[in-house]
Amino acid sequence: MIPVALLAAESAAPAPFALLPSLIAVPVLTAVFIALLPANRGDFAKAAALVGSTITGAISLFVLAVFEKGDPGFQLVSQHSWVSSLGLSWILGVDGISLFLVVLTGILFPIAIVTTEAHHEPKPYYLWLMLLMAGSMGAFLALDLLLFFLFFEVVLVPMYFLIGGWGHGERVKAAMKFFLYTMAASALMLVGIVSLAVLVGRETGVPTFDVRVLAENSDVLSHTAALLIFLSFATAFAVKVPLFPLHTWLPDAHTEAPTAGSVILAGVMLKLGTYGFIRFGLYLLPEIAHELAWIFLTLGVVGIVYGAAVATMQKDLKRLVAYSSIAHLGFIVLGVFAMNAQGLTGAVLQMVNHGVSTGALFILVGWVYERRHTREIALLGGLQGVAPIMAAVFTVVMLSSIGLPGLNGFVGEFLILLGAFSSARWWAVVGVSGVILAALYLLWAYQRVFHGPVSGDNEKMSDLKLSEMFGIAPLIALIIAMGVYPKPILDRIEPSVDALVAHIGQRVDGFSEQEPEPVAPAGVDELIATAEASGHGGEAEAQEAEEGAE
């Protein structure tokens, strides 16, 4: 207890122990250790990966424990000069926006490792997973724009090998598509990053990639420069999310990836896109983000409807979950570009929710595939009879994904819609349909897979093993806990989101006035009242929403 209190007291100063760097170092060292293991002992590799990722997860929980919840700024900052001639520094830090993504990464990796098996060559498999963990952690922690880019790009390599080496079907094609698509999108981002640093550095006299410095000084850019730089960032993030017209890599990559790969891809890596939009779009270039918000709101909403509609048509269960991700990420983008406190808080929360519930869905689909060697919905059926526990777990996860009140999905979606409704009404109206469509495709899929008479090979399918139940139990616990009592999480997200909204307000002229006139004020009041009553939105947001409405 005492060290925790000490750390909390000193959180403004650099952390006494290299807490955040260890989140990257432990997986890297684990990977090195795995590389040194004998090739024929796959069980050693798995054990090492499990231990390494669990330690990292524990450190991330410790970070959560020492995180001071009232402080909106970056905490536990670790800052070192690295390549001084290029202005590249090693700056890590967490705030309310990245905190839970770090914790999510810390939790999902051990679970993905414990719930899945590498069917061949386990040594490189776990080695890549550990490098992927280090890269993901680094991307969420980096406060140096170039350092972020390094991690953002380097995660492609382990993922490429995981999909290409341990995937199914057209795995090589899917891996190539994934790698090239993402690399092409971020190629221009590098030019944007460098240009931003050069142009801002010319004004301030100090070339740096420090996000905090850049964000404070990015108003020196001309409108054209800022617009082009924002677009170069947005392309990279839009592919990563993925937003509607740039999503075509996702279904292939998700479907062909091994289960652990899908879990991490959906649970962690897609969040790099939405997190990037918040941290390096809204925070760095608020003017342009505000100006172009309508484009991203539209693409987000199109994604919601399109993802849901296409998911409904899928014959392959895993592909269905993949398309549902497009719809869910559309919601998150809607919340981000609502650009107010509720929307952003909801978006951050929904990132975590999506990681938990879609991660769990991919694990379940993986288990079905392992037992039945098919993911074809038509070939499955009546699994409820032979695997009641799996059916129960699937039900909870599915309902969370649909957004049933009382489970985690609801809180996030509700806040997003609330935020979007006050600043981007018509987009919110269309977006709401996504909630209904999600119920449609997931319930229908559930019905076809788990209900009905048991036929053919499905009769022999076994239920969850005890180890599998333990593996997925933390995710189920999170789904329920975050749905019933999200306040501790929201308390930590909100101060940072408020600070971000204030930053946007400062930089964008007439930011609050630009919110549309209310069409039905009574409806908004009701929503605000609900928010206040349920305790999800704080006093400040309700106030702000009210101001927006008037």
């Binding site: 290029l86 380097v154 080496g165 341990w166 090239l180 190629a187």
Partner: protein
């Protein structure tokens, strides 16, 4: 060569500025080392074996590299206090009657060439043993060629540049054709010679025109021939100097294989002995870029606005065409040839930025130097792996020959993957920072569009690296588990079978030698590629290169003008 040494001694006898011998050691060690090697091995036949020449070459490269340290300390100090820079009429720390200049830039490039010689000598050793070739002539020619490269990089007079270029090239032509039993090698040598001679003709004619326009062949003479010079004024009557610059640029573009003067490269790279290609793609190209940068950024600096668009056009064409044409290839050496054309485009972009009059200039020169070093290490390592995989006869360079390399030799496959990902510009490798520096320099210069085009071309060229990685790691991973047919087919089809179960089958087949070369590569060759991969990773984590070396060397290049 003997003529060159004689010329050196003659020059000493001439009245003129005193020759600072201690600054000439890096060049002399390479040149004299080559002469010594050929003499000693002719006189003492015992030493004509395979180990001695390789060890001698490595030591020579090492000695030349080490002798750079005191030289660096001298020129670096001169940089700091101003020294002779710009003060004398002879130019930057000129020696030997203004013909040869030593400064930070020269020292850096010489170091890079030594790295290339060292790694290639390690590769050659294993190669010659495997091919059953002997003779120290490979090493002699390489040392000669390297000394020519150093001469080209250090030349302070266009005539000396030409001398350097010819010493560099002629040795390389012979090396390309030196595998006497392989017709492809002969063909490659011939092609290289014919096109190289054409390039030399362009170069020489360019020198003549520039001399006609400016009345001088020394770099500072050309630089100074401005409106105030007596007689000719190339600035008011520019046709002659422009034509001269254009011809020199064409000559260099051939040497560094920039599009559209790249046609020889894929054919020559494919046919020439693999370790020789490693040297051609690294050492020879580095020297070409050094000469190009020195002459254009110094002598032609007053006309930078005229030649810069041409460099930009060559650069963008090289990055894009290099990337695109590689897509159609299946021969790994050809693919790597196009990849090196793509890299040439990036280095030309660095020169483009270095010509910038504002702070993009310094960053561009730094980017060029870092790129030269990173590229040399990467490309030598990559062709090193190609040498090993090529097997006896040096003929297995199809993509299929790389299938399953991750199983038959995980270390080699891992090294190759690091080198290829570095060439693609993946973070935490030297390749990333090389590209990043170029993009940064272009951004400082305001050439955002060029940077964007180059990065998109880099993505296109990433396809070729990924295709090789797919062959090594991904293709027969799963299938091998499903059925053994793959392995049987592979053997029947004359391909290298990576399957462990297929061992007995394979041993009996003619592919046995391939497998031994892959499974148990020559230790020196393995050392070379591992060193290359290690340096690639270290430069990816510590791209500062020990403080100010890069920036000092770069400012020496720019200060010269």
């Amino acid at each position: 060569m003997i003529a060159l040494v004689a010329q050196d001694t003659q020059t000493v006898a001439l009245p003129g500025p005193p020759v600072v011998w201690s600054l000439l050691w890096p060049f002399l060690i390479l040149a004299v080392g080559g002469v010594l090697l050929v003499t000693v091995t002719s006189v003492v036949p015992v030493l004509r074996g395979r180990s001695f020449p390789a060890a001698f070459t490595c030591l020579t490269a090492l000695a030349s590299g080490l002798s750079l340290i005191p030289v660096w300390q001298r020129v670096d100090r001169l940089d700091l206090v101003g020294g002779t820079i710009g003060s004398g009429t002879e130019g930057p720390r000129s020696l030997v009657s203004g013909a040869y200049a030593v400064d930070g830039f020269t020292v850096f490039v010489t170091g890079v060439i030594c790295v290339s010689v060292f790694l290639t000598a390690l590769l050659l050793d294993g190669y010659l043993r495997r091919e059953g070739l002997d003779g120290p002539e490979w090493y002699v020619l390489m040392l000669m060629s390297a000394s020519g490269g150093v001469l080209l990089a250090s030349a302070n007079d266009l005539i000396v540049s030409f001398l350097g270029l010819e010493i560099l090239s002629i040795a390389a032509y012979v090396m390309a054709a030196l595998h006497l039993r392989r017709a492809e090698s002969q063909e490659a040598g011939f092609k290289y010679f014919v096109l190289g001679a054409l390039a030399s003709a362009f170069f020489l004619y360019g020198i003549a025109l520039v001399y006609g326009a400016t009345g001088s062949t020394t770099l500072q003479g050309i630089f100074a021939a401005g409106p105030n010079a007596a007689g000719l004024d190339p600035r008011t009557d520019s046709s002659l100097i422009l034509a001269g610059m254009a011809l020199l640029l064409v000559g260099f573009a051939f040497k560094v294989s920039a599009v559209p003067f790249h046609f020889w490269a894929p054919d020559v790279y494919q046919g020439a002995p693999s370790p020789v290609v490693a040297f051609m793609a690294s050492g020879v190209k580095v020297a070409g870029f050094a000469g190009l940068a020195r002459i254009f950024l110094y002598a032609f600096q007053p006309y930078w606005a005229d030649w810069r668009p041409a460099i930009a056009a060559l650069a963008v064409l090289s990055t894009i065409v290099g990337g695109l044409l590689a897509l159609a290839q299946r021969n790994v050496k050809r693919m790597l040839a196009y990849s090196s054309i793509n890299h040439a485009g990036f280095m030309l972009l660095a020169i483009h930025a270095a010509a910038s009059p504002d702070d993009g200039g310094q960053r561009g020169a730094e980017a060029l130097l870092f790129y030269l070093l990173a590229y040399t290490v990467m490309v030598t390592g990559t062709f090193g792996v190609a040498t090993i995989v090529g097997g006896r006869g040096d003929g297995r360079h199809d993509l299929d020959d790389y299938r399953g390399l991750s199983r038959s030799n995980p270390l080699l496959a891992g090294v190759m993957a690091i080198l290829l990902f570095s060439q693609a510009g993946v973070p935490f490798t030297s390749g990333f920072f090389a590209k990043f520096r170029v993009i940064g320099a272009l951004a400082s210069d305001g050439s955002y569009a060029l940077g964007g085009a180059a990065m998109l071309a880099a993505v296109i060229s990433a396809v070729l690296y990924l295709r090789i990685v797919v062959s090594m790691f991904l293709i027969d991973n799963g299938e091998a588990h499903e059925a053994d047919h793959e392995a049987v087919d592979a053997v029947a089809g004359g391909r290298a079978a990576p399957e462990a179960e297929g061992d007995t089958l394979v041993e009996a087949s003619p592919e046995a030698s391939v497998l031994t070369s892959v499974r148990a590569p020559a230790p020196t060759a393995l050392l070379a590629v591992c060193l290359a991969a290690a340096v690639t990773l270290v430069l990816g984590l510590l791209p500062d290169l020990g403080g100010g070396i890069l920036s000092d060397a770069a400012s020496a290049l720019l200060l010269a003008g």
